[in-house]
């Protein structure tokens, strides 16, 4: 190899080839390192994206608890701000779910689709709750009170009209008391949500109506008109109480059963999503570790190989340069000791060593006896 180089490649080219090889080896190492770590960078990007996904899932999970808490506050306490908060959180949740839906993975998208559907159901149910709650509030605060007042007024008019009849007055007072009991038990129901108060309220109302019915038989025409009016008011009053009770039961069912089930299912899906993301994060982590190990091994093996090649080639090039110079130096050393030299070592290339060899050859020719 060394002889080949000395015969065919000039000194300058050999030196340049050495430098070139060193540069190529360096570039190859850089390229290999870059290739080896490209996968790891992708894995890191995925890992970072999973981190964001996890944060979103946490946000969704905490929002789900909060939305149901606000819905319950609105249902049981009636704060309009809580209803507004439900709307706000729902929008945030929808936006988060939409962001999740932009993910490419079908598995994640299908879970997000379920969550979006459940959130829509939840919101539809809440709109119904709000309607029922508002209607119930109006029934209790306006219709209910107005009708109670009007019915009571009719009985009070009856009491005034029957001033001459103490028995009828007493009966009217009893009816009035029964009506107050209707109101008391109805409000107790709305306060405590204990259904036994509904039954008690209905019983008191039935007592009022049967009392009026009894009075009607012995009443004068003017009293009868008042009794009929009172009975009409009581009938409306009864319908209002019943409607308010049914609407209360309706929104209680919606918030505690329908909405809670939707929230529970959304939370389950959010957990499922988190578990999926966690498993993918774990896989990405493994992949990163494995990529780093693989890249390290590859770089080590390639580095050793390339260095060995560089050392070998450098040695060969070095030998190809030093060997003819050493031979020339030995020749001149012999000459300096007066030894007879027949010829200068052969070196045919027209490079610097060739020039030196040829100059030595000329010097040797001139210094031979007879010249």
């Amino acid at each position: 190899m060394i002889g080949f180089l000395n015969r065919h490649i000039s000194l300058k080219h050999r030196i340049h080839a050495g430098y070139l090889l060193a540069a190529v080896v360096t570039l190859a190492l850089i390229g290999l390192a870059s290739l080896a770590f490209r996968g790891t960078v992708d894995d890191f990007n995925r890992f970072a994206s999973f981190g964001q996904q996890s944060r979103r899932n946490l946000l969704v999970a905490s929002s789900l608890s909060e939305i149901q808490r606000q819905a319950l506050i609105y249902t049981y306490v009636g704060h309009p701000s809580a209803a507004a908060e439900v709307g706000e959180i729902r929008l945030q949740l929808a936006a988060e779910i939409d962001r999740i839906l932009r993910q490419e993975q079908p598995e994640i998208r299908s879970i997000a689709e379920i969550m979006r559907y459940r959130l829509q159901n939840y919101h539809d149910a809440f709109l119904l709750v709000r309607d029922l709650r508002e209607r119930q509030r109006k029934l209790i605060n306006a219709d209910f009170r107005n009708l109670a007042t009007e019915a009571e007024q009719s009985i009070k008019d009856l009491i005034r009209l029957s001033a001459h009849n103490p028995r009828q007055q007493l009966e009217s007072q009893e009816i009035l008391t029964a009506m107050l009991l209707v109101e008391k038990h109805a409000f107790r129901y709305f306060d405590t949500l204990d259904a036994t108060h509904v039954a008690k309220s209905k019983q008191a109302l039935a007592r009022s109506l049967s009392g009026l019915e009894r009075m009607k038989n012995s009443a004068s025409p003017s009293e009868r008109a008042l009794i009929a009016m009172a009975m009409d008011k009581l009938d409306l009053y009864q319908k209002t109480v019943i409607e308010a009770v049914q609407r209360t039961r309706g929104y209680l069912y919606l918030v505690n059963v329908v909405m809670a089930a939707e929230a529970s299912e959304m939370r389950y899906q959010a957990k499922k999503l988190s578990a999926l993301v966690a498993s993918q994060m774990s896989a990405a982590e493994q992949s990163i570790l494995s990529s780093i190990e693989d890249a390290g091994s590859l770089l080590l093996i390639a580095g050793i190989g390339l260095l060995a090649l560089l050392i070998t080639v450098s040695f060969i090039i070095g030998q190809s340069i030093t060997r003819p110079i050493i031979l020339l130096a030995k020749t001149f050393e012999k000459l300096s000791h007066g030894d007879s030299i027949s010829r200068i070592p052969d070196y045919r290339l027209p490079d610097e060593i060739g020039q030196l060899s040829r100059a030595a050859e000329a010097f040797l020719s001139r210094s031979k006896p007879g010249n």
Partner: protein, 420 residues
């Protein structure tokens, strides 16, 4: 069966009796084709039934199916929105208290005498238990004071018709098949080996009893009266199930029959509260789901058909005709094919093949492949209905679906359970 055949088979008697009772409106109804509004659930408000009834009766029928609670709220707050209401006995107390329905006159029910004792006295055989909770017979008759009770009178709060017993379904590919009434138990719902794979129906008047039966079967709780629990008992029961839910024992709740099918078909659930059509559908999909016959007894339900307080004149005549039609044979045979029973089964027998009758009512092996209401084969040759015959199933009733006195309180606890 067309309208002419219907009139020939049963309507002759019906029309004659209607005429003799001085109800000319029904004759007018047939000519003017009045429209009746029926609200209820998908269980009975099926398009095939509506079309058949329209053909047989010559009237227009509008079905508005919806969720249980939604329909109950609609009916109890707006009696004008319906002429007939079809749901379960657990809605009767609410409707009656809301004065949303009017009493039904027994003398106008053509097949009243054929209705069996399950609704009239509470049991089909002397050895059958009455069952806890709101057994239908306790709410059937309108008492002189306007309350509902079991003492016979000439007016009823509802027309007895569709009914069945429910329990839980389990996937025998995962859980070894048990022995009906011996090893199958509600307690399975709370067994540790099914951790994370259990679902419950999302209805406090139903699912609550599934949980109560399960907890009692496991020896975790005792009730003074499971059909009307005290607040303390409700707290204790929810204490048990909420603790289990926090540990991840329950996959969740299901809100519709398709949802229950999806949960078991996906493998997320191996054991859950179920309704008969869900079990049939899973079997049709090749999933070996068994409708258990628990040794503690079934949770039974009974359909009710109620007349709106506002239903009068022509609509009322048509509504009575529709109620009588439901017990005239064809509808009972139709719903038998989805596993439900009718209150006068003998009249429906004529509309069923011997094999169908033997399988659905007698609990005998199917002699031939049987088709469901969708026309597809739902029962293979040799299959036996779990729980056995009609009599046998109703001899094992533990409790009826019930709205308890503390209904509102159970709602708040249910919320706690769902979000635990």
């Amino acid at each position: 069966m067309n309208r002419r055949q219907f009139l020939q088979k049963s309507g002759t008697v019906s029309l004659a009796s209607a005429a003799s009772m001085g109800c000319p409106a029904i004759v007018k109804a047939y000519n003017a084709k009045p429209t009746i509004k029926v609200i209820g659930t998908h269980v009975t408000l099926q398009e095939t039934i509506r079309q058949q009834a329209e053909r047989d009766l010559g009237i227009n029928i509008v079905f508005t199916p919806g969720g249980d609670a939604e329909m109950l709220l609609k009916a109890s707050t707006d009696p004008r929105s319906f002429d007939l209401y079809e749901q379960w006995t657990d809605s009767i107390r609410v409707l009656w208290q809301a004065d949303a329905i009017q009493p039904i006159e027994i003398r106008r029910l053509t097949y009243w005498d054929e209705i069996n004792d399950l609704t009239k006295t509470g049991r089909l055989t002397p050895k059958a238990p009455l069952g806890l909770g709101d057994a239908p017979y306790k709410l059937l008759y309108v008492q002189p004071d306007g309350a509902l009770g079991s003492v016979q009178s000439d007016r009823v709060s509802f027309l007895p018709y569709v009914h069945n017993t429910d329990s839980f379904g389990y996937n025998t590919a995962v859980i070894p098949k048990g022995v009906p009434y011996e090893t199958e138990s509600w307690g399975w719902l709370l067994e540790e080996r099914h951790h994370g794979k259990v679902a419950i129906v999302n209805a406090p008047t139903i699912g609550l009893f599934d949980l109560a039966l399960a907890a009692r079967a496991r020896g975790l709780i005792e009730f003074q009266d499971m059909g009307n629990m005290t607040r303390e008992e409700i707290d204790a029961l929810f204490g048990i199930v909420i603790a289990l839910k926090r540990k991840g024992h329950f996959r969740g709740v299901w809100t519709s029959v398709p949802h229950s099918i999806e949960l078991m078909a996906s493998g997320e659930v191996v054991l859950q509260s179920m309704f008969s059509p869900g079990v049939s559908a899973l079997n049709g999909m090749g999933i070996p789901c068994v409708f258990a016959a628990p040794r503690e007894g079934y949770r039974a339900w009974h359909g009710v058909m109620c007349l709106s307080r506002e239903c009068q004149g022509e609509q009322r005549e048509a509504a009575y005709a529709f109620m009588n039609w439901w017990l005239s044979g064809w509808p009972g045979a139709f719903i038998a094919r989805q596993g439900y029973y009718i209150s006068n089964p003998q009249r429906s027998r004529a509309y069923m093949t011997t094999s169908e009758w033997d399988y659905w009512y007698e609990g005998k092996p199917a002699a031939e492949p049987l088709r469901g209401t969708d026309g597809r084969i739902s029962v293979g040759v040799g299959e036996i209905r779990t729980g056995g015959s009609y009599l046998s199933r109703f001899e094992h009733v533990a409790i009826w679906n019930t709205v308890m006195d503390h209904y509102e309180y159970t709602l708040t606890k249910w919320n706690e359970f769902l979000l635990a």
